[in-house]
């Protein structure tokens, strides 16, 4: 419970920062003030300024927007495609359809995800949209496998048998009886994929394949700050902490949610 609270608080802080940045940031992140560059944190600039004199606090707020948007959409893609595939595979266990879906998933799983993400952005050009697609594709097998595994054991339950006797089709059973019972697992996994998505976005931006300038992005802020570490460490520290705390928050929230939602763990208590 403590994990959950702490995780949710951290996540909420960044989510609020991202939302507020739509209407207000302390400074405009598209305006460069070269004369004001690399200032240490002060009362005016809470997190100092970067090598172009932009306010780092404002950039982290706007960067949160980029990170969260990319990660959310990637999770939605993964769930939207992965869950139906998993349900279908479980409903037709052992059939050709099951084989095709699961071996297809194995195929995607077999590739190192970041490498493929780099390949996708290298072919279609670096942009936030391509980063989303690249990260999203790798969420599909995660959700498909999870859904299939959980659904398979549910298909042997008596209430599913009852539903079949009552004449319900496989699709209806999947949606009405299986899906609600795997939702808990999906929420927990969703939180974890969300944090992985933020990390992946930062990694892609760091190598220059994520959101393109002038859109601020945590990963690119880190890359820009790399050679400045000796000169102005705060330029690298703050985006680094932003990534660390968001991912930590999401992981804690995921852990906490599992404690609350997972029936197996509930029984143990």
């Amino acid at each position: 419970m403590r994990n959950l609270t702490f995780g949710l608080i951290l996540t909420t802080i960044f989510a609020i920062g991202a939302l507020v940045s739509f209407v207000w940031t302390p400074y405009d992140v598209t305006v460069l003030e070269i004369a004001n560059k690399l200032k240490s944190p002060t009362a005016d600039h809470w997190f100092g300024t970067d090598h172009f004199g932009r306010d780092i606090f404002s950039m982290i707020m706007v960067g949160a927007r980029t990170s969260i948007a990319v990660a959310i959409v990637a999770v939605v893609i993964g769930m939207g495609l992965g869950v139906p595939l998993g349900l279908a595979a479980a409903a037709r266990k052992g059939s050709l359809l099951d084989e095709v879906i699961m071996r297809g998933n194995d195929l995607i799983f077999a590739f190192p995800s970041l490498l493929i993400a780099i390949l996708i952005t290298a072919i279609f050009g670096p942009s936030a949209v391509n980063a989303i697609i690249a990260i999203g594709i790798f969420n599909i097998p995660v959700f498909a496998r999870l859904t299939r595994g959980a659904a398979l054991s549910l298909w042997t339950r008596d209430y599913v048998l009852a539903a079949r006797v009552a004449g319900k089709g496989a699709t209806r059973i999947s949606v009405e009886h299986i899906l609600p019972n795997v939702a808990n697992l999906l929420i927990v996994q969703g939180t974890i994929q969300f944090s992985l998505g933020i990390l992946a976005e930062a990694a892609l931006s760091y190598v220059g394949l994520g959101a393109q300038p002038p859109t601020p992005s945590w990963g690119r802020m880190l890359a820009d700050a790399q050679t400045l570490i000796a000169l102005a460490p705060h330029v690298a520290l703050f985006p680094g902490f932003a990534i660390l705390l968001t991912v930590l928050g999401l992981n804690l929230a995921g852990d906490g949610l599992r404690d609350v939602l997972d029936p197996k763990l509930r029984v143990l208590r």
Partner: protein, 490 residues
Amino acid sequence: MTRWIFGTMAATALLTGAAIAKTDVTIGLQLEPPHLDPTSAAAGAIDQVLYANVFEGLMRFASDGSVINGLAEDWDISEDGKTYTFKLHSGVKFHDGTDLDSADVKFSLDRARAEDSVNAQKALFANIASVEAVDPLTVKVTLTAPQGNFLFNMAWGDAVIVAPESIDDIKVKPVGTGAFKFDDWKQGDSITLVKNADYWGDAAKLDKATFKFISEPTAAFGAMMAEDVDAFYSYPAPENLAQFEADPRFTVLAGNTEGETILAMNNKQAPFDNKLVREAVSHAIDRQAIIDGAMFGYGTPIGSHFAPHNPAYIDLTGNSEYDPEKAKALLAEAGMADGFKTTLKLPPPSYARRGGEIIAAQLRAVGIETEISNLEWAQWLEQAFRGKDFGLTIVSHTEPMDIGIYARPDYYFQYDNADLQKLMADFDVEAEGAKRTEMLQQAQTIISEDYVNAYLFQLALTTVVNAKLQGIWPDAPTQAIDLTAVSWAE
């Protein structure tokens, strides 16, 4: 045997300690040469390692960019300016022990200008009608027309003299006439040169020189600070220079390069085919902010495509002063009061990546929205340079005296002006110094007033060296790291 000698040397060095002056040097470089033949590739890294050290030409560049005699002891120009007679130094030997004679010169020049030659600067030799070996030490070169800068052309790294005996292996085992011999190339790591004991001129002061390739700016900083390298040529992260300057162990050499850094505009693509728009872009840009923001203060503002250290330079920065209001007015006059959208394609160097972000912000201030794409060099060459698919791009033109590119309508920024083309054609055959200067100044003025590109700054060459190391060229009159006169202070 060798091991025993090294062992003894090491022991002696240990015993006597600091009393023995260092006789080797390690130079850090960002880019590794693709191969080691300066006469068949444009890659500057090849010349940086080999020019003047391993290979020499008839003429050569001195540290101030002037052209002096290289392998040619003397030369003579005929009355009509069409025949050059070079007298070679006697007793010059290639590193494989063969003698240098006029046949080698004829071979080198004929090879460079041949139909199937892959020389990156074939234009240097385009005017040669014939090369004749008169006697073993005399070469006569006949030109199709008088050419004012023929000796200058012969000083380029692409015009070095190679031997037919060793040409087959030149890409991995270069054999030249220089004060250093090629020793070893560990691909991806370093190239080692050793002193040539039989050098015909003043012998090198160092026994060994290693070029170490470090592409990451952070790694370059670490290698320099740990003194793993004795000098880092063209240090890639200007933000660290203040730190080196403050450290008594190091000296920062800030020199000139031939690199005119420009915001190139696609002169055949709308809206940049309109001079008013180009003028507006030029006025929208604050050069000083770019120099301070992207280069941490290193760089000289330019107003045309010409190096400020050249005697024929005229300061034309006044033509395109920073004036956003004027830029907006010009855009309105061009019928684009609401601005427009264009692409800004950026190659990897920090002048382009950082400069690009600053320029994007400055252009946004006058209503021009740019879509930035960061490209690797190969992509940039394909899309922007060859494909001409760009609105704006930033690049530094590091070739010396390259204003002639404006007379090439198919060059990537696609500037087509018959007056300038005629001027440059006349310039090529003009031999008289004062006239040449005047023509160069005319050319600078034409392109500046036509706002062909937005001229940003002359790239500074910042080399970090160990404070005890002497003789490193501060400037880069050509792509070269001449180590023949480099030595350690006692």
